[in-house]
């Protein structure tokens, strides 16, 4: 019976260690991060109900590394015509009149030392939702993906037609891999 006690102890220790390890690997991962915003902007209404294309507001995503948060003036393109008034819209109009920039809280923060270029992906036809989740169904925007290196690589490899599952890779003749279309080099993202 003593022996059993010992074994049990070791088992518990192992389990604890496992949990710890799992916790450790979540450090710096903010999946589900959904901070409050200065203006309660519902993507559900704009991108969802009204089907405004993402790139209408986040136009920079086509040309820049940043998708960009639209200037209040961009909002006014529509909101000057729409008479629907809410306190939130009021705040927006204030900001425009006073030329006071809205200080949004950034949701998707990449880890340090990582370069990500939106335009590259947008032009290559990667859907926004693939990383940002079903934004059109979100009231308050939240980080849908872990944004870890392993997560990025998964996609880059499938895009690069490099088998990702171990067995697939074992099956595939590794010697003549196709040269990745989506970069698999360190310097694709780190410099």
């Amino acid at each position: 019976m003593k022996v059993r006690g010992i074994v049990l102890g070791f088992a518990l220790l192992g389990a604890g260690g496992g949990l710890l390890a799992r916790g450790a690997t979540r450090i710096g991962v903010h999946q589900g991060y959904a901070p409050e915003q200065p203006i309660d902007f519902p993507h559900r209404i704009h991108a969802g109900d009204n089907k405004i294309p993402c790139l209408y507001c986040h136009s920079a995503a086509r040309t820049s590394r940043h998708a960009g948060i639209p200037s209040a003036s961009v909002c006014m393109n529509c909101h000057t015509l729409i008479e629907k008034q809410t306190t939130e819209i009021q705040r927006l109009k204030e900001a425009v009149q006073l030329q006071r920039p809205v200080v949004w809280t950034k949701v998707h923060n990449l880890p340090d030392f990582v370069y990500f270029n939106h335009s590259q992906h947008v032009v290559s036809g990667v859907a926004c939702q693939r990383c940002h989740g079903a934004v059109e169904r979100m009231d308050r925007i939240e980080q849908a993906s872990p944004l870890t290196m392993g997560w990025c690589l998964g996609c880059h490899r499938s895009e690069a037609h490099v088998p990702t599952s171990t067995f697939a890779r074992v099956a595939a003749n590794v010697r003549n891999r196709p040269t990745p279309f989506a970069g698999e080099d360190c310097t694709s993202c780190h410099y």
Partner: protein
């Protein structure tokens, strides 16, 4: 179940050895002998077979070797074949040191683990001493004392003849 034992303590390894021989000669079943250090010749005297622990070592070692080789090969060739100094993805020679180390590590730990299990040793186990000072300077022979009494006498007599300082009977469980 509880048994009755005859425990004889000796101050000298020589006398103890003689007693062991005599006892086995008289066909008394020896449960175990307790000593402050491994008295040589006692194994043969008691007829203990050589332990098979080295087999465990071999298996554990091989296990370690295979794991090391497979793991390195997997990480370097399959999981992400990076170009490191233009070297071949499968730089087997470079994998040798780690293979060796893991062989030794797992082999060694496996053996010790197996030994502790087999010898029923674990931290905090309460010791069962055959006699006071068996870890210092006393050698103790423990024989089973079966029901019928004269046999019992036999064991006691042989031990005393062979210079046991003291012989006692005890109840106990193994």
């Amino acid at each position: 179940m509880t048994d009755r034992f005859v425990v004889g303590s000796f101050g000298e390894p020589g006398t103890m050895l003689a007693a062991v021989d005599a006892l086995r000669g008289a066909g008394v079943a020896i449960h175990d002998v307790f000593a402050p250090y491994p008295v040589h010749g006692l194994d043969q005297a008691m007829g203990i077979r050589r332990s098979r622990l080295p087999l465990v070592t071999l298996l554990a070692g091989l296990g370690g070797l295979c794991f090391a080789l497979a793991f390195q090969y997997y990480t370097a060739v399959f999981d992400w074949p990076l170009d490191v100094g233009g070297k071949p993805e499968n730089s087997t020679l470079a994998f040798v040191p780690v293979c060796f180390e893991l062989t030794v590590l797992i082999g060694g730990l496996g053996t010790v683990g197996a030994f502790l299990l087999r010898a029923r040793l674990f931290p905090g186990k309460r010791e069962q001493l055959a006699a006071l000072g068996v870890t210092n300077n006393v050698f103790a022979i423990v024989t089973y004392a079966p029901r019928d009494a004269n046999d019992d006498e036999l064991a006691r007599r042989i031990m005393l003849e062979n210079g046991a300082d003291e012989v006692e009977e005890r109840e106990g469980s193994t």
